[in-house]
């Protein structure tokens, strides 16, 4: 099954392109200290806004720092924000979705009302309020985004649980006397994971975009550290005179998010039974 899945995934062009893009980004983030040609924090006030050249492949920023190095280190921050935000929302959402779908009753009603509340709250406003309350720092941005995006997981998982709850193998497990949580985690969870993986992959892209939007609204991470989003947002001030400062991080965001979207959609195509019949 697993080998089959990988083979199918490789055959899916969307997933393949997405996977390659993501692999490049993840690798450069992991190898940041080796790849970055210079110290990303070293300022040279006599060499500000230098355009791309052999010496500085992406040019320098408003403090004369090497932009390429900053973009490479920015990958670390942006990916971190994405992964942890998605992790938080996934764990929270899957857990609540499982409870809600499996037990039903008042737990279901409470959780689903909560979902509706969070869903109708304008997402960016919620993020602004959370970050403002917690203070802007990478940790809090991740937490805030995590607290916002859990609802989709909860809904999807709940729907899948409802579908598999009455399957024979689950009923069988229950009649042999397995406890509720054993049934949930051993028998139900593995069977509802596929859509969650798709969502998480797509969610990574959304989280990276949201972080940049928060940066644009002045609630991103604290300088001198930089994510792609904060570099892009600050760089927009210099769009006319030194476009490279915003264009490079902007393109990194675009390609990375595109990669996550293509990969996520590819996984969905491969795992979706409806499209798999043929």
């Amino acid at each position: 099954m697993r080998a089959d899945f990988v083979k199918k995934l490789l055959r899916n062009k969307s997933a393949l392109i997405g996977g390659v893009l993501i692999a490049i980004v993840v690798l450069s983030a992991l190898l940041a200290p080796l790849l970055a040609p210079r110290d990303p924090y070293e300022m040279h006030m006599d060499n500000r806004f230098a355009p791309p050249s052999a010496e500085h492949l992406m040019g320098t920023d408003q403090y004369g720092r090497d932009l390429l190095s900053r973009v490479i280190y920015g990958a670390v921050v942006s990916l971190q924000v994405g992964v942890i935000a998605v992790g938080v929302s996934m764990v929270l959402g899957v857990f609540l979705g499982l409870i809600s779908g499996y037990f039903g009753g008042w737990a279901d009603r409470v959780i689903m009302t909560l979902v509706d509340i969070f869903l109708s709250f304008p997402i960016i406003l919620l993020a602004i309020a959370f970050v403002a309350a917690l203070g802007p720092s990478p940790k809090n941005v991740m937490l805030a985004l995590g607290l916002i995006y859990w609802t989709n997981y909860a809904r999807t998982v709940r729907a899948s649980v409802l579908a598999v709850k009455e399957e024979e193998y689950v009923l069988a497990a229950r009649t042999t006397g397995a406890g509720d949580f054993r049934v949930i985690f051993l028998y139900i969870l593995p069977n509802v994971l596929a859509p969650v993986i798709v969502m998480a992959t797509l969610g990574l892209g959304t989280a990276i975009i949201s972080e940049s939007t928060l940066s644009f609204l002045g609630l991103g991470i604290q300088p001198p550290a930089a994510s792609w989003g904060s570099t892009l947002a600050v760089g927009l001030d210099y769009l006319r005179s030194a476009p490279h400062i915003s264009v490079f991080p902007g393109c990194c965001i675009m390609l990375t998010v595109l990669g996550f979207n293509l990969l996520g959609n590819g996984i969905r195509d491969v795992t979706d039974p409806k499209l798999n019949r043929r």
């Binding site: 869903l119 709250f121 406003l125």
Partner: protein, 333 residues
Amino acid sequence: MRHYFFRRLLQIIPVVFGITALVFFIMRLIPGDPALVLLGTDATPEDLARMRETLGLNESLWTQFFSYIKNALTLDFGNSIFQKEAVMTILLRSFPATLELSVCAIIISLLIAVPLGVAAAVKRNTWIDYAGMTFAQLGTSMPVFWIGVLLIMYFSVHLGWLPSFGRGEPLTRGLGLLVTTGSPQVLLTGLKHILMPAFSLGVMGAALISRMIRSSMLEVLDSDYIRTARAKGTPEGKVVMKHAFRGALLPVVTTVGLQFGALLGNAIVTETVFSWPGIGRVVVTAISQRDFPLVQGGVILIALAFALINMGVDLLYAVINPKIRAGRERGAA
């Protein structure tokens, strides 16, 4: 049907109450209070204490909350602390602009998504499919504010075709004048102003909607009923447009509904970039000033609009497809 309608309406009540509680307490958790912002840095501690008392901020949180709820039930959302005006008045003034922007953004989403989705489904697994779907994804892959700034740079500053900021004229007023006087001038002014903001907002939705169209069309194209139609010798164009596209519409309606809600939230950023006089900017400014009543009222209004739109989508869904009336899953992708 009526029974279902009322049940859905009842479900909105706890949601709106929950939103009210959430926004009320979050705002008070955020450091900094309106008295401080209002009085500025010159204020003495005595001035501050007096202002907090005037604003009712020295009461206990619960007292404040319950009196807020009590007033809200009579549709009294208080006065804006900074603008010295009823919250309702401010919100009702700015909401139509946001609604107009969102509707136009949805239209643009559909204009992009429908041709892309249909073409991708019909030409499945060809380069048209891949290119189309990748192109659609590009829209969601760029931060809205970036798209917005680039658009202004190109179409306003470089080419000088479109105005760089503001709303110009409400489209409804333009339409009215077009009908009553036959003059398209005002409508055109409005359209010119809304084009870029609506586009930058709309491209986001296009990705999701076009994928939805593609996959639901694929499903329908594969069904027995289409095979029969083909076997009977119906021209392919008719098969696609008449049978497949119509069959695929149902999930699309749902997606558009959900997307609409997301737009209301995302409009905040677009409104900032394009100086659009909508509710999103009002609320963002209010948050940064800690204008509690205005933030609360604005969030409740946006949430209510979102809930009502979703309810409308559900009802529409139930009308089109009575079988799923009971279910609350909306089958979103």
